[in-house]
Symmetry: C2
């Protein structure tokens, strides 16, 4: 896959490097020369350019890439202008970034449907984690169902899935369990690794530090996460 990323701040640079490491071709663009120099060896190509300068942006292979991402954030003006320019130059798949509701509205009115809010999304996930006492992490599903990781309730410990009967008694489906698993390394030394145990068998017994990954209706899942 070919991608162009405009703006190599924290978000843009992490995205560019990650995609390059996943073996995609990434062109990174930033107006700060030092930033471009720093990333030269980590991306396919790093170019120093003002993303709002039409004559410069026109020289990029915009019709040839699969996705063009505007990762400029705080500089909302530049972020919007760059997105507008990409629209004008017919880039095929544009992903924008919005820092404020107004910023979001402007991008949407330009027909940019895919808009990322890095800080807001991370804040939301942390807020949900802090909100539910035993919640370790959660997965966004639309509507009234959730998938969450939660610390095992105390009264499950020492019992098996067959005894607990999560579907009948708690209306949740236990997808899997995350637990520390002892391993032996190449030189015979013991060590522990946090692992997912796969699809659980009915005779699996819950252990003290287990983290359950469960699926169910929000209120049922929250009930377990609050125990």
């Amino acid at each position: 896959m070919k991608a162009i990323i405009f703006g190599l701040g924290n978000f843009g640079r992490s995205l560019a490097v990650k995609l390059t490491n996943l073996r995609h071709e990434v062109i990174g663009v930033d107006s700060n020369l030092e930033t471009v120099e720093d990333l030269k060896d980590q991306l396919t190509i790093a170019i120093c350019m003002d993303a709002t300068d039409e004559r410069a942006v026109k020289t990029l292979p915009l019709r040839d890439v699969d996705v063009a991402i505007v990762a400029i954030g705080e500089n909302e003006g530049a972020s919007i202008l760059t997105a507008a320019l990409l629209k004008k130059l017919n880039a095929q798949h544009i992903i924008g970034r919005a820092i404020s509701p107004l910023h979001q509205t402007v991008l949407e009115s330009m027909g940019i449907s895919e808009i990322i809010h890095p800080e807001e999304d991370s804040a939301e996930r942390l807020a949900l984690r802090l909100n539910l006492n035993k919640l370790v992490d959660s997965f966004d599903l639309p509507g009234d169902y959730s998938i969450i990781e939660t610390a095992v309730p105390d009264h499950f410990i020492g019992k098996s899935i067959a005894e607990i009967q999560p579907r009948q008694n708690y209306q949740v489906n236990i997808i899997t369990i995350i637990r520390k698993v002892p391993k032996i390394n190449m030189i015979g030394a013991k060590y522990e690794v946090i692992e997912v145990i796969g699809v659980p068998e009915a005779d699996l017994v819950f252990l003290e530090k287990d983290i359950l990954v469960i699926f169910g209706a929000n209120k049922d899942v929250q009930k377990l996460a609050e125990e």
Copy 2:
């Protein structure tokens, strides 16, 4: 739950507002008066203060809150100093924020184990989504298993779960399906809502725009997401 959030930039303010809306007591702290004024009505309390000023921070009820979050980012110096100050004043649960690997290392060496990287985490999730063609979203699990949302493979459409036999033939567990569901509103008008259908029955038939939420070993899950 009582929380103090230092730094009300994009991340800090979203977190503070979200937690307040979830009915927690939130004290928001920022050195920028305008920022504090803007948030006065949306938080329990908003205070204008330099988070690196020990005499000022000492006046906060640090021993009385459940969590103290340093949401200052770009100003790495202030972010680190604030975290150090909270450590010194014995705040019970400190969550830090790191913008660079050095920033992370300093916080870790101070004994701050919970560190958030808002931009980097969002970049990682977007990179994974772009990497797997039909991937809609993914949930981080340790080790070699994943939960992902993926567009339904073409050859599933029109068949039932019983016919497809996902566990035998694809080694994945279909947790649930996200699809558009027709509804009637209060005045009798029809509309559509994107919903999770709950735990799927064996006779459920896959439809064209379905999004499958599946669990399985990475390579099996990726195989489906690439079809």
